[in-house]
């Protein structure tokens, strides 16, 4: 489970001064459910997810991931989390197997468990054909599978996906969305960020709309449709975001 409590992140920019990338965000993600964080570019999605994955430290507030505080116990949090984004690249000079094993070892797996886990994942994801191939020689689809294998090697309870299908072709993107669904079906807590409305419709049990670092609204798709009297996610998103966007423009 993930509980974000007043999560905030401020950056200092020489030209623009203080920037509130994430501003007092509170939400909860349940095991066996997918929480979708929907927002435009620069809305604060990536920063929020990076704080949950303890890659960044919150300026204020905190989050509890699988019972561990992201500020107090970041290493314990990371051992419970699988983090995947288009920015999490592979070590190009390692083979697919070496890459996955490296992260397994960093997660404290002993060699016997690691071998069993790696064999299992490589069979499940149909990766045996390229397990000894260097990552710089892999196709985009193979790379994504290797990244997925990396996030699964320590069998995390929480999966965090930051715009995981960004820039991918449709077949590779489908592999990722199928994987996200599988995580939910396996009882994992899943949070993912996107600006692709169709993904939200297909995948999310709960949707949070974020703009300028603020979580403006959250609820199931049905609840949001009722509240805003719109069927399309895109229309709901525009209705939620526009007043804030105009207010910011006026400022």
């Amino acid at each position: 489970m993930i509980e974000a409590r007043g999560l905030s992140k401020r950056f200092h920019d020489k030209k623009r001064g203080e920037i509130r990338a994430v501003d007092n965000v509170t939400f909860t993600c349940q095991p066996g459910k997918i929480y979708g964080l929907l927002g435009a570019n620069g809305a604060g999605k990536t920063t929020t997810l990076r704080m949950l994955a303890t890659i960044l430290e919150p300026t204020d507030g905190t989050a509890i991931v699988c019972g561990h505080d992201v500020v107090e116990q970041p290493e314990k949090v990371r051992s419970k989390v699988g983090f995947l984004s288009t920015a999490t690249a592979l070590y190009r000079r390692l083979t697919a197997q070496e890459f996955v094993e490296y992260f397994g070892r960093l997660n404290g797996l002993d060699e016997a468990t690691l071998k069993k886990r790696v064999d299992d994942i490589f069979n499940r994801l149909d990766m045996n054909g390229f397990r000894d191939r260097r990552c710089d020689k892999l196709s985009t689809g193979m790379m994504q599978k290797t990244s997925i294998a990396r996030t699964l090697v320590h069998d995390p309870q929480v999966m965090i996906f930051d715009e995981p299908t960004n820039g991918l072709d449709i077949m590779t993107a489908r592999t990722i969305t199928a994987f996200i669904r599988e995580c939910r079906n396996n009882g994992k807590t899943v949070i993912f960020s996107t600006h692709i409305m169709s993904e939200v419709e297909k995948l999310c049990d709960t949707i949070g709309i974020i703009q300028s670092g603020k979580l403006l609204v959250e609820g199931s798709l049905a609840q949001l449709r009722d509240k805003y009297a719109e069927h399309e996610v895109e229309e709901i998103f525009v209705k939620v975001v526009t007043p804030h966007y105009l207010a910011e423009e006026a400022n």
Binding site: I55, E75, R78, T88, F103
Partner: protein, 404 residues
């Protein structure tokens, strides 16, 4: 602290480094090949060129001398010199290397010598031009021998002993052991090479493991793993340190082998290099180990400093532009230590890099000033510890890791 995690990162970085062509070239191939190419290649080329220059029979123009047949005959009989008659524009001919020198014998020279009048024989040459210098040397040697012969004849005519003109001899004798003499001559360069190569060996991996990782997008991947940032930075640091020491060790090894090969195959013309070869071969394991022990904290200092600086960069190219000027920061004190007359003092022993360079000079010469060794080793360890501490701190700063 979990050494297991540091070891995991180190092993992975080592695997990647050994598979990276650029790292292998800069850390292993360049130090192994640089010295053989520089010393044997250029050395042999220089020997060959000098030999060829010596084989050439230089043309020397004779000006005057019609009334001094004995001197002219003597010049014409000189081995490997071709005396040519005077033609106009002889200065230009020297400059254009058509002739190598000209010798001007004053009118009535032989008669003047007989009457004990003093004259001046002038040699015109192209200063610094090797073949011109050879020709000049030969003419000058002949004329000096001729002068000595005249002096001896005059003394003999007056029944005077040669000691009239040379009442006593001046002789110098070296009391320093041969290794100290060689140490003074070549010791500076050993320290300089080890220090400089530690720096160049650390440079590429320092950039690759920090800015390179950011550029390739793997920084976020590794930061999402449970490893603590301190373990991560230490794993990377040890790999950079390995590269620094490895490069220095391979270079010294390659330098020793190159010089020994050169010592076997070069003639007397390469006397300096042969002496260097002989000296290097005499360096015992004690000296080599001492130099490397002193270089260890310097390598730590370089590895940590370069890693910290490169971490600021977003791309490999940006890191290169930060680190290239660092080479000069290292070269200046290392060169300063090679200057004659610069010796260890309590103040200098606190200046990083310079202190170790100076100490290496002493160690190679076989002098162990234990008080200086203690000061320099401990002060460099302190500098290295500060640099490593800064590197660890920098790895924990989001503004550095995610600089945009």
């Amino acid at each position: 602290m979990s050494l297991r995690n540091v070891g995991i990162v180190y092993r992975k970085e080592l695997t990647e480094a050994l598979r990276d062509r650029r790292t292998v070239i800069s850390t292993i191939l360049v130090p192994l090949l640089l010295f053989p190419i520089l010393s044997v290649g250029f050395g042999s080329l220089a020997v060959a060129l000098v030999g060829k220059a010596k084989e050439e029979v230089p043309k020397v123009m004779l000006r005057g001398g019609e009334d001094s047949p004995a001197v002219v005959d003597g010049l014409k009989k000189l081995d490997k010199i071709e005396i040519v008659p005077e033609t106009p524009g002889w200065k230009d001919q020297i400059i254009n290397k058509e002739i190598r020198a000209a010798v001007e014998i004053p009118s009535g020279f032989q008669a003047d010598v007989a009457q004990q009048k003093s004259d001046t024989v002038k040699i015109f040459n192209y200063q610094g031009e090797m073949k011109s210098e050879f020709a000049t040397d030969k003419i000058e040697t002949y004329l000096k021998e001729y002068r000595d012969k005249v002096v001896k004849e005059r003394l003999a005519a007056k029944n005077l002993a040669e000691t009239v003109l040379k009442p006593f001899e001046v002789d110098r004798e070296n009391v320093a052991p041969p290794e100290k003499v060689s140490g003074a001559a070549f010791g500076g360069i050993i320290g300089y090479m080890v220090i400089l190569l530690c720096m160049t060996g650390a440079m590429y991996p320092a950039m690759d493991l920090t800015a390179g990782e950011k550029e390739r997008g793997t920084m976020e991947t590794i930061l999402s793993s449970p490893i603590s940032r301190m373990h991560l930075v230490l794993g990377k640091f040890f790999l950079i340190l390995t590269a620094a020491l490895g490069t220095a060790a391979l270079s010294v090894l390659s330098m020793g082998v190159s010089f020994s090969v050169l010592g076997h195959y070069t003639s007397q013309s390469a006397g300096g290099r042969a002496a260097a070869a002989e000296f290097l071969l005499k360096l015992g394991p004690k000296t080599v180990i001492s130099v490397f022990l002193m270089a260890l904290p310097v390598a730590v200092l370089f590895s940590a400093t370069l890693m910290t600086i490169a971490l600021f960069a977003k791309t490999y190219k940006e890191a290169q532009s930060y680190l290239t000027p660092m080479t000069f920061v290292v070269i200046f004190p290392a060169i300063a230590a090679m200057l004659p007359g610069v010796e260890l003092t309590p103040k200098l022993s606190l200046i990083p890099i310079l202190n170790v360079s100076l100490l290496c000079k002493e160690l190679v010469a076989g002098t162990y000033h234990w008080n200086y060794i203690a000061i320099i080793f401990s002060s460099t360890c302190v500098y290295a510890a500060v640099a490593l501490f800064l590197a660890i701190k920098m790895f924990q700063r989001e503004s550095v890791l995610f600089r945009s």
